[in-house]
């Protein structure tokens, strides 16, 4: 049967030569060849060198920002001395530093993922993360001060805050996972890192320090000549012995003795290690400690005329001066070197020096306790050493002078204040902070904590500051009050009274109204809570959440809705 349907297809008569097919087929062939070439080039030439290039770049970036290679455990490129960081290196803009560290961290993450769970790289990543978070914080401060956030809206600021928090969390998470799961030197370093941070925040957990020391003891038992483990142990013992809520005095003495033994065996201790040792030694032999600190500092004093090559060294010199009780010289030393540093280095340096002062303060108190214990044993009580008291006051003065904006001082003080035996130091610190403009309100909160036995008596004292003309103080005070109430239920009444005074003096501080409403609700004082909520609603009529809260409170009070509307209208 023939097909009578006319074909709808186009004409089929065109002739094409083979060369035409070749011409049209060449692009596919060319692209195939190019793809294979790229794969081969990448496999044989790019990938093998990638790790070393990345490591070099990481060290370069970190060095420029000021993270020394000693801080990085993965032995990134210790032979390349050209990359050593120095204060003389070109002062970089903040944004440049951030870009460098972001790049370094990205490369560390990549290396870490390719090395599949390399603890040293993860440790380094955490170190870089924290430094990056510090830089973000610095940028936040800069934006707040310059008022740039008003021009660009709060988006950039929120973005920076979020980045900073994420980096800190990431670092903590990394360090905790290394410290919890793994054994070995990296785990020990992670534990020490956590210990140092906790000590800086005055919340050193004895559990962590004990575990770190036990781990290190285990390492030293199998490898008694492991220099790195010895140094770590020395540092761990030092930190542990100086922690406020750490081991008992007898344990401190024991630790200090072990530290002394180890320090004597370390073949070539660095100045930092000698100073750790001196700090430990101070517990059992202050004079020997001063000698050691002096000896440690000697090589550096001899080069005093020359430029010091790292913030770390400057800190060490300052520390030796503090241990030697050369406070006047220490203060002058700081005054001489601070102007040569960049802003970021200044912040770091001042914080470290202030931390040294506080640690030294604690060491003084511990010495007093040891002496009083000895005196009790000898049944011959001695009056409190007035010279030591003067030293303590001077040290605190210096700490506040060096780092008035440093949060860790406040946190450190919090812990001291919770220990009744250190109430005297707490009160001294509180009054010092209260004199400093920047930290008035936080200090007042601390006063409440330290002197909570006599809250009402002190209320008027801190309200005077909290209701000061500076809005930021009042806001901080209002925020602090609710924290106080959360800390201890019995202080809720005090916090409410505190907030009420702020409300009366500064009614525009809405946070105080909001927090007071919350506390009233917590105390089931619903009419008072309602009053605060009405005030808030009048100030923020578009906020739906307040309306919902009012309705919730009204339901509890069984107040008719009409009445509520009338009240709001008023």
């Amino acid at each position: 049967m023939s097909n009578s349907i006319p074909s709808t297809e186009p004409q089929l008569n065109n002739q094409h030569t083979k060369s035409e097919f070749w011409r049209r087929g060449k692009p596919a062939l060319a692209l195939t060849a190019l793809t294979l070439l790229l794969v081969t080039y990448s496999y044989f030439f790019v990938q093998p060198n990638l790790v070393s290039q990345y490591k070099k770049s990481i060290l370069h970036s970190c060095g420029k920002v000021g993270i020394t290679e000693q801080l990085l455990l993965s032995k990134l490129d210790s032979t390349d001395n050209k990359l050593r960081p120095s204060l003389e290196s070109k002062a970089l803009e903040l944004t440049e530093k951030i870009a460098l560290l972001e790049d370094a961290q990205l490369r560390l993450q990549r290396l870490s993922s390719e090395a599949n769970d390399d603890d040293a790289l993860r440790y380094d990543s955490a170190i870089v993360s924290i430094s990056l978070a510090d830089l973000y914080d610095e940028n936040i401060q800069r934006l707040l001060k310059s008022g740039e956030q008003q021009k660009n809206g709060s988006v950039e600021l929120e973005n920076l805050i979020s980045k900073s928090l994420n980096r800190r969390q990431e670092a903590m998470s990394n360090m905790q996972s290394i410290a919890n799961v793994e054994n070995g030197s990296v785990a020990s370093m992670a534990k020490l890192w956590l210990m140092e941070r906790q000590l800086a925040n005055a919340t050193l957990s004895s559990d962590i320090s004990d575990r770190a020391i036990q781990d290190l003891q285990a390492v030293l038992a199998t490898e008694p000549t492991n220099e790195n483990a010895r140094i770590l142990m020395l540092r761990a013992l030092t930190l542990s012995s100086l922690s406020v809520d750490g081991p008992s005095i007898n344990q401190r003495l024991k630790f200090a003795n072990v530290a002394t033994a180890i320090a004597n065996e370390v073949s070539a201790p660095t100045i930092k290690e000698q100073l750790w040792f001196a700090q430990s030694l101070q517990v059992i032999d202050p004079i020997a400690a001063q000698d050691l600190a002096f000896q440690s500092a000697q090589p550096f004093w001899s080069q005093k005329a020359s430029v010091y090559n790292s913030v770390e060294t400057l800190e060490a010199v300052f520390e030796s001066l503090i241990i030697n009780k050369n406070l006047t010289e220490a203060q002058a030393f700081v005054g001489e070197h601070l102007p040569k540093m960049t802003y970021y280095e200044q912040v770091s340096f001042r914080s470290q020096c202030a931390a040294n002062c506080i640690r030294q303060t604690v060491a003084f108190v511990l010495n007093e306790n040891v002496e009083s214990q000895n005196n009790e044993m000898n049944s011959s009580r001695k009056p409190v050493n007035s010279k030591a008291n003067i030293e303590v006051t001077r040290l605190i003065d210096l700490a506040v002078l060096l780092a008035p904006e440093s949060d860790f001082l406040i946190a450190y003080f919090d812990t001291i204040a919770q220990d009744e035996s250190k109430n005297e130091i707490a009160q001294r610190l509180a009054s010092k902070f209260a004199e400093s403009d920047d930290k008035t309100c936080e200090a007042l909160l601390n006063s409440i904590r330290a002197l909570r036995q006599n809250e009402e008596a002190n209320l008027s004292h801190f309200v005077e500051h909290a209701t000061s003309e500076k809005t930021s103080y009042a806001i901080v005070a209002a925020a602090s009050a609710i924290k106080l109430a959360q800390t201890n239920q019995t202080t809720t009444g005090t916090a409410i009274a505190f907030l009420k005074l702020i409300n009366d003096a500064r009614p525009e501080i809405l946070l105080a109204w909001s927090n007071r409403a919350k506390l009233h609700m917590l105390q089931q004082e619903l009419p008072a809570a309602l009053e605060c909520l009405y005030h808030l609603q009048n100030a923020l009529p578009e906020n739906r959440e307040i309306g919902q809260q009012i309705e919730a409170v009204q339901r509890q009070l069984e107040v008719p809705k009409d009445q509520t509307d009338a009240s709001i209208g008023n």
Partner: protein, 555 residues
């Protein structure tokens, strides 16, 4: 000639409007019983295609079916194919009709479409090509491209193929970025640069590349009547070109952003880049076909082995085959995106489907968890984590957890695959049941190269607020039995609908040592938050839809 014959001839002559050629044409093409059986299957097929439209990577099927229809019309010859082909067609037809009958019992449009495609094979197999004289059944093969191949109880293979292609393309683009000296870090399918990151979307290996290129390759081979081996090589090359082009597309985005400050990852530039690489892939496909003709000949009987070679198409015709479908795809894509047809198509069934949620729908405290923040995220309608997510962050003493209500999905959604795409590797997975209501909840533990561990717990519920059974935990026979039982119950209508579903999930980074404790805490959070959101969201949705419908009914 008898009187009856004369009367019959007169009757025929008295019908001037019916052309005898047309009658013969009709009889030869459409009088086949297989064609009639295929027509009978159309209701289920239409249902399958209606739901298939929701899968972006299959939205080319109208083009493909139109092309097949056109080719069948233009190439049909009345000559009968060989006995072998007719037998083959008969076997396919029997299987196809059986599948269709079975699909109507268990209400499976997916199975019905397979039966339909096989019946079409049975219809075309006895007919022959008007030029080559071979069986026409080769024209039915492209129809199988739009049938979602089976993989497991949770999803069809195309889903996993997309995931595989995403990962492959992303991993191939990493060495290219290394060659370009761009520092980067690849977490699953997310390329992270120092200050920004780019996600490899499904679209990168979806309609705009792999499936579309595969479709075009199949059509090109069918159109040019290429040999089986030639066709197979070109189809395989289409997969390679799709991957190469996707890799190129992904690789171009970071340097453009870094060096030229041009964001090619979103909006119109992203679309243009996608279409450019797709066009390049089509060109390479065409080029590959030509290369194969150069090396091995066209596979046609009339091909001259000498320098002069007869070919099936002129340049213009071959290009029209490539250009027209592309233009059509572009048009469809543009129309869909501008009118948001996909969403409206779904909404036609039952009004608004998104649960309207707010930050304060969850209380400040759930067990030991304290609410920290809330945000709503909008994405494209084929995004891994759903088109919309309402995300609440909670914090307990040590950890943060994210509760998210992701919407909407059709049937079950395997969330573990999505986390796999972001660099997490699954370590352990099981199904747990809540203490109160015995809802099945998938609990999965993940780890990542950076040493972090995480837990994900998730479950889905439908518009009635009922939990979805976790697939894979019911035997095949029992599943069939349940479907048949439901088919003859009052709820049979449910089987015809692909339910809109909502996914509740809790994600938390955890310490590896505290798996059990964190699982309990996460489950407790998920249960309370899910129940709260389900009640509030569904009620609000019903109210909204009722309010919207009321004025219409008054009219």
């Amino acid at each position: 000639m008898s009187t009856t014959d004369i009367a019959r001839d007169e009757l025929i002559l008295n019908e001037p409007s019916v052309n005898p050629t047309v009658i013969r044409l009709w009889q030869s093409r459409f009088a086949s019983p297989w064609f009639l059986l295929a027509v009978l299957q159309l209701p289920y097929v239409a249902l399958y295609l209606y739901y298939l439209w929701a899968s972006t990577h299959y939205q080319f099927y109208p083009v493909l079916m139109g092309a097949v229809g056109y080719l069948v019309y233009s190439r049909w010859s009345d000559q009968s194919a060989t006995l072998a082909w007719r037998r083959f067609g008969f076997v396919c037809g029997v299987i196809g009709v059986t599948l269709s009958l079975f699909s109507s019992v268990v209400v499976s449009p997916w199975l019905a479409y397979l039966g339909f495609a096989l019946t079409i094979v049975a219809w075309l197999a006895p007919a022959t090509d008007n030029r080559s004289g071979a069986s026409l059944c080769y024209l039915a093969w492209p129809l199988f491209l739009v049938w979602k191949p089976p993989y497991n109880d949770i999803a069809t293979a195309d889903t996993y193929l997309i995931t595989f292609l995403q990962k492959l393309s992303a991993s191939l683009s990493s060495p290219l970025l290394d060659i370009l000296t761009i520092p980067h870090y690849m977490q699953g399918t997310i390329i992270t640069l120092a200050d920004r990151s780019f996600g490899v979307e499904e679209a990168c290996s979806g309609v705009q590349s792999f499936f579309a290129i595969l479709c075009i390759a199949a059509m090109l081979m069918v159109w040019n009547r290429r040999s089986l081996i030639h066709s197979l090589i070109v189809v395989v090359s289409s997969i390679v070109w799709a991957i190469v082009m996707n890799t190129l597309r992904i690789t171009v985005i970071p340097p453009a952003s870094l060096w030229l400050s041009i964001d090619l990852s979103h909006g119109m530039p992203h679309q243009i880049l996608g279409f450019a690489t797709m066009g390049l892939a089509f060109w390479m496909l065409y080029s590959t076909d030509n290369l194969l003709v150069y090396w091995f000949g066209s596979g046609e009987a009339d091909l001259d082995p000498d320098e002069s070679v007869k070919v099936a198409r002129t340049n213009k015709q071959t290009w029209s085959l490539i250009v027209y479908p592309i233009l059509l795809l572009l048009s469809i894509s543009a129309v869909v995106q501008s009118l948001d047809l996909q969403k409206k198509a779904v909404r036609l069934v039952g009004g608004n489907i998104f649960l309207p949620l707010q930050g304060d729908d969850l209380p400040s405290n759930i067990n030991e968890w304290q609410k920290v923040s809330y945000q709503q995220q909008r994405r494209t309608n084929d995004a891994d984590f759903g088109e919309q997510s309402d995300v609440w962050i909670f914090q307990d003493s040590d950890h943060q957890a994210t509760f998210s209500l992701d919407q909407t999905f059709r049937l079950w959604h395997d969330l573990t695959v999505c986390y796999g795409n972001t660099g997490w590797k699954i370590v352990e997975q099981n199904v747990v049941f809540g203490d109160d209501d015995q809802w099945p909840v998938v609990s999965a533990f993940f780890e990542r190269n950076d040493g972090r561990h995480a837990i994900v717990m998730f479950c889905l519920f439908d518009r009635a607020g009922q939990p979805l059974e976790v697939p894979g935990y019911e035997s095949w026979w029992s599943s069939i039995g349940n479907r048949i039982a439901k088919r003859f119950s009052f709820d049979a209508g449910d089987l015809f609908r692909e339910q809109t579903c909502y996914q509740a999930q809790v994600f938390a980074v955890i310490d590896a040592e505290q798996k059990s404790a964190r699982q309990d805490a996460a489950l407790a959070l998920l249960e309370v938050a899910r129940n709260q959101i389900r009640n509030v969201g569904l009620q609000r949705l019903r109210n909204e839809n009722a309010t919207n419908e009321r004025p219409q009914s008054n009219l």
